[in-house]
Symmetry: C2
Subunit: 320 residues, 2 copies
Amino acid sequence: MHEHVGEFELIARHFARPVRRALLGVGDDCALIAPTPGMQLALAADMLVEGRHFVATVPPARLGHKALAVNLSDLAACGARPLAFLLSIAMPRVDEGFVAAFAEGMYALADAHGIELVGGDTTAGPLVINVSVIGEVAPGQALRRDGARVGDTLWVSGRLGDARLALEALRGQVRLAGEDFERARLAMEAPQPRVALGLALRGIATSAIDLSDGLLGDLGHVLAASRVGASLDVATLPPGEVLARQDPAMQRLCLLHGGDDYELLFTAPAARDEAVRGAARTAGVDVTPIGRIEAAPGLRLREADGRESEVAARGFDHFA
Amino acid sequence: MHEHVGEFELIARHFARPVRRALLGVGDDCALIAPTPGMQLALAADMLVEGRHFVATVPPARLGHKALAVNLSDLAACGARPLAFLLSIAMPRVDEGFVAAFAEGMYALADAHGIELVGGDTTAGPLVINVSVIGEVAPGQALRRDGARVGDTLWVSGRLGDARLALEALRGQVRLAGEDFERARLAMEAPQPRVALGLALRGIATSAIDLSDGLLGDLGHVLAASRVGASLDVATLPPGEVLARQDPAMQRLCLLHGGDDYELLFTAPAARDEAVRGAARTAGVDVTPIGRIEAAPGLRLREADGRESEVAARGFDHFA
């Protein structure tokens, strides 16, 4: 961790804690960790930019939580066990209150998953945060995007759309009563990565992805990588607590194009439906079957009234 | 790698290449790599911000080189063998010429070290680049900052100060003739990480750090971590080719407070001087003995005329 400005050593102190599992942590050129023998390493990184991935008014503790959460969500989608993470942060000025709260939120989530910050970088600049995570998974056990097979059940964890609903409220597209807004905002700013579910689904799920860009977009990635199609029962999609009280058009928008849900979208053979439910119970997370993998390319949306509409194999991102 | 904007998929394509050593690369939630059994993992991350770590006019290929080089330099300072890296990049708009040149410079260096890009993130935002590297080193073999022992010889690789000289020229503090400026600028924008030297020094060096913040500052980190002092023979410091033609005051500034040199500063027992020279020959890099580790705290600068001045144990960063 290079401290380019004396002032920034202050920041480093907020983030440097005694090393537990790592052999060498913050403060040397590299961190050293000892992976479990025979395991493969899973790596991911996500960058958060102010004004794009979070609003300036986000409580810093939630920002610290989310910067780590979105990365743990990537490990969850691979069925990998988190080991450690690196934090790089650029910020315009040193605001010790901000840094302390950010570190607190980040460490609360890190502690919940038994992992530690082992290094990174701090510098002056526009507020940009990058977290890189490292996890491990046994050879052949990683959940990938390309494993969905014809006949598989399509599943989603948790509830969808409250994060997108909060964004719509911030944009002035919908009015939410105070408590509802706070609840939706919590979904957007403090998602819970489904690490335990990802681990429990190893050997059961055939593919998985985390929902960061919206259900249709992320499902499109799985279908493209797996070279299959799917049908989706729109009425089965589980709306978030606040979203469930909105009108049908808003529900549809936030369910299909949510973004920032950080739930797992995964597939498993239909014969393993009970195993999936068992894994979900183990992880303490609800899961809902929402469709089926099919041989015909593209995506078919089946509505509650039985109507079916076709979404082209490409361009799910732009589907309205 | 999440592509939040359709346009940014274009960027991802420039960076996505067929995976060789990695088991799963760019395009899934995580990358998967298989470490060598029994090895420890070395991790580091560095963030580069436009206007702070590079000027807007930097050739993009050099920027791609440098973003990776500064991270490989961290692995070098630990004596770790590079395995793979993650790239996160925020940029205000998609300039395909910039992206292509950036990727070319980055991949040229990656290829030279036999490593590959396995994942990361691309997003809209101010131009900020973060690279995280992962390497491996045998247990107990990592070079650390805290291993310097009284009596050790203090060494530096390569030549120092041309990068800082280029910065002074950009700031208008010194005038350099065209070819000299280009040469100094190359030192600043395209440093060569001393990976081979770091590897060759395992089992020989007692401590190491890479020179990113300037000789006095970085030496201060080693002395503090190792709880020792040192004397430095200022006249032995090897100036860069362009710096060698500058006046003594400028030479002193750039040698002691260079920054961005990315040479290795390391210590080894005096009895191992020949082993150090052998390691340097193996790596094809010049090394120079520049001082000695001493029990008395603080740093003593010994000038060519025999005068000695004391630098306090703390505050090397602010030493003028």
